[in-house]
Symmetry: C2
Subunit: 706 residues, 2 copies
Amino acid sequence: MELNSVEKLLRPRSVAVIGASRDPSKIGHQVLKNILSSGFRGAVYPVNPNASEVLGLRCYASVLDVPGPVDLAVVAVPAKLVPQVVEECGRKGVGAVAVISSGFKEVGNEELEKRVVETARKHGLRILGPNIVGICDTVAPINASFCQGSPLKGEIAFISQSGALAIALVGWTALKGVGLSDLVSLGNKADLNEVDFIEFFGRDPHTKVITAYLEGIESGRRFMEVVSKVSTVKPVIVLKVGRAERALGAIRSHTGSLAGSDAVVDAALEQCGALRAPTFIELFDWAVALAKAPLPEGENVLVITNGGGAGVMATDAAELYGVKLMDVPPDLAEKLRKYMPPFGSTFNPIDLTGMATKEWYKGALLEALRDSRVHAVVVLYCHTAITNPKEVADAILEAKREAGVNKPIVASLIGGKECLDEIQRLTSEGVPAYESPEKAVAAMGAIYRYKRMRDKLLRPKTYPELKVDIATARRIVERALAEGRSALTPFEAAQLAKCYGIPVLEKRLVASREEAVKVAEEIGYPVVLEVESPQIIHKTEVGGIILDLKSAEEVAKGFDAIMANVRAKAPTAEVKGVIVRRMAPKGVETLIGMNRDPFFGPVIAFGSGGVLVELVRDVAFRIAPVSLEEAREMVESTKVYAILRGYRGQAEADVDAVVDTILRVSKLAMDIPEIASVDINPFFVYEKGKGGLAIDVKVLLSEPAH
Amino acid sequence: MELNSVEKLLRPRSVAVIGASRDPSKIGHQVLKNILSSGFRGAVYPVNPNASEVLGLRCYASVLDVPGPVDLAVVAVPAKLVPQVVEECGRKGVGAVAVISSGFKEVGNEELEKRVVETARKHGLRILGPNIVGICDTVAPINASFCQGSPLKGEIAFISQSGALAIALVGWTALKGVGLSDLVSLGNKADLNEVDFIEFFGRDPHTKVITAYLEGIESGRRFMEVVSKVSTVKPVIVLKVGRAERALGAIRSHTGSLAGSDAVVDAALEQCGALRAPTFIELFDWAVALAKAPLPEGENVLVITNGGGAGVMATDAAELYGVKLMDVPPDLAEKLRKYMPPFGSTFNPIDLTGMATKEWYKGALLEALRDSRVHAVVVLYCHTAITNPKEVADAILEAKREAGVNKPIVASLIGGKECLDEIQRLTSEGVPAYESPEKAVAAMGAIYRYKRMRDKLLRPKTYPELKVDIATARRIVERALAEGRSALTPFEAAQLAKCYGIPVLEKRLVASREEAVKVAEEIGYPVVLEVESPQIIHKTEVGGIILDLKSAEEVAKGFDAIMANVRAKAPTAEVKGVIVRRMAPKGVETLIGMNRDPFFGPVIAFGSGGVLVELVRDVAFRIAPVSLEEAREMVESTKVYAILRGYRGQAEADVDAVVDTILRVSKLAMDIPEIASVDINPFFVYEKGKGGLAIDVKVLLSEPAH
């Protein structure tokens, strides 16, 4: 069977170490030594023109001299020699190349890195790195890295964009008893990146959970495409750093500050079904839970404890992590009563009290597992004099075996060394266990979040057909671009919205006070006047907008006032005239927008509108194209939804109109890539059946990125 | 020197174990055994009428038979015998009694518990418990508990309301290398509670940090009084559980849902300077940091790392935990350059890269410590082949010693067993160290939060003198109470507010449509009509309020409409008439309120007003009496403050008017305890200098609690 490139990288049948050295301080020596001591069963070929033998193996001057086929070449030569080495690998027909050597893009040497990739491409050869610590695989097994020691064997794949972290976590995971199927160092991602490996691990029978430490997700759309497929089969958990403003380090525009990249990453991960872990500790806590425990059939979780305090901690954590503590049916409560003193509690958490024995733990857990209304159980234990940790662990494992059902059980054992030992034993026997109730509940929460996301991914998505006038819309954009403008005027923006079936407040542009009065008389009072100028984005700030004008006289005075304000506060702005529009009836104030993320493409935003929007940040994001289900979910995830749904006696608002407009903005973003952003704020939502209205539409343009 | 009761409990010179048993399965045996094996140097007297000798010691029939003085009596007899035992302790002149026995309030036996306390009070004797696991003190030392094993000696006092947790944490803290000065089990808190111990540990030279696990803070006001004093001397860290709705389990009224007890606990802890930890892991992580590291002189924090990834993690965490990463001055950057390769970074985090040696770590840290502009340093390390954990720990400790300055340093060492060992060594030598960058930064964040809170507590508080008409206010309340009502009418509420100098919209009560029109003509259009009925709290829901009526005709029609609506939707409500008021100009919509917490007393609320208030929950709480500084801080901590301050070209609003009104509501709460709650929503805030206006004031009453 022919292996693909990633398989050849991770599970090679033969490996060449190019730059293998006799000097133990050299990486080329350490890598070879690790391969030899890792139990690798295939052929190993040291390559080094200056040695005839390294670590007891015959050494070759070039990979071209190697007698047999080579699946994987690990390269640890000075950077400047790498292109030549890759060329030789190509000619040799090597399966894949892992470039450990550093001295490329990470030190500003982009040119050299490009040459390496081009050389590889020419031969159809895939490259991992450069600037990596290597690969550790516990399946082959092979440790083709300069990590000290190998990871424990297990079912979690770990992909790391940080080399230092990868090395350090080999020790840390071993200390914690966390087993890995593979550890992959991504380095500069010149060719292969996280997506290639997620795709591979998605199909890999040796991997149950895929984890990744990422600093950037440059192939955002491919990442989402692959992860949303893989997530239906096994969990993907991502530690994506760079949440902090300081870490992002980029100056962002006003609208950009809402669609801030980290919020986009959050939305994208959620949308494609990946879990996002806040630190590597949770990353592996959750991965262990998902690797060891089955998925639950339903949402009913029971907590069993021997300490009221631990029970309250778990209750607090359950709310935080979205774990639903069931109400205990009376007949089950009665059965549980047998395993506690009279002052115990059958109000979930089930409190067996400090008097709990091994038999009580086992009995109560058996009742819970055998009851079809209970879908998952969290067992909590505080080390007491009555029952030692080993007895509790035995009770849990015996009940699990005897119940003969496949329900997730997680445990927390609070105490000293004895507890730590039993935590590791329980975990290795399929009951993920932790040192605190909160960690146990968080792990159960990860199981549920994964299950809910997977269920959602498995449901079909609907993309309703929308009638739009794309030709006119395109002409509006092209004309503005041809004039060298990077924004549509409000008048053009409203026209564009109309082309896409977005209900928009009609606006008329006038040049004089007389014309303003004439138009106002036509459309009817009250009206709003606002200055029209490409340079003035925030009209309120320059006194460029006046509301609620009720007569010809007020309109005339308003026109003059705006002109005077703008002359004073924005003297250099080019004034194209003044817009006259009806004062629209007020609806629920929302915002609908679109922004392009450099990595994930068009991002659709929906949330509370008006001036408070930036302060409360009640905004949901989704990557376009947005499905009907996703649009509805976006709306339902915001706080303003409570108002839309009809809050405290108010009528229910037209949520369908909001969903429809979101879909139309999404389509606009997909159809016309020259549109950089759309900002409909406010979008008034009226009573159910009465639709909505875009009061203000801002559209920015940019040349499409290719 | 005479010791007080708490000192006699924790550091006794002599101890009697009442209920000492020869049966190793009995708690009375275990406690005695623990005392004897804990290194206690004072006299120990077993008391048991049925034995002449226990564990080699002479046993007495009653504490009255003990020859010498007894500082502490530990009681482990059946619950029903406890009153008699306490009586004898009183007669003997015992210093304090710790009642281990259970079977009291926790199993519904409140009567028996009351008898124990009354007996003790009669003799001026203080009781700890009942229903405790005992006391472990590492100063005396004495382990007068049935915990298995004693805690490590250290400088952290731990007070636990959960016995099971206390026992379990003896093992856990020992495993983690966390040393305790004392461990106190509070049990049912029949007499002594957490406040008594916090007060003691505040003065105790052996305790550097006070920690507590609490399920309730019943003596809320005394707690705040004591903690705000102790917090100026040493940190108090509290793990208060019961955040979740389910855990609270109480049904709360509409306003109560805002002033929800957990938000009140948060506010109270913040106000008295206590840190609140989310789980026991953070509780001890932070306690160790505060026990081991000095407080910083300023806010400038430098991070030094050998891995970019760890640096980004720390940057993210710094934002989360309020740690301020300084910008590195160019001259310092130049000095740091000496300790890194050319591709290292002097943009904080300082990245020495994976090539970092012991010398580089030491050199860079020395430069940082010697620079007076750097106030604290976080050192991060990923285990690499270049430098082992011991070398890094040595580098840190040598630099600390050689720099000869007293600045906080925290560290994170990511890796396996070797790292774990060095983490414990660094910590014990004054550099709190952790397994992840986030934990290290969180610990530094705790140091800073404590420092900032302490600084705030040390600044004087101002309580401006406010002129109010307390006599009239009292009469309004008393009259309503005399009529058996639990709410003021809107009209009365407005009067009450006026008595306290709160600017309030004038309202006139009318009984007929003709009268409504007459009043409207007097006060001028536009006006608002609203129904006046004690039973109708949310007027919008029944169509009981109509805005913006602009003519006599509209007012007449409005009056009829309200009457019809109320008849239809609230047919049983007693209608006292209709209120006519001016349509006030719109200001920034805020909320000012007061609610009484059963434990902390009057709580003042300020936040965003209007219908969004309950959705965005932009509300700050403080326990009354609120100082001028606290009122200002409340306002500044909300999101609506950005609007008040003048947002995007809007004029600055009258923040002083808000602060003044908060102080007046606070005074009202302190002056008239019969007022259960005040809800001013909306409180319109106008431009600076133009004040504010309470549009709607709701006041609920209750008999004062004694």
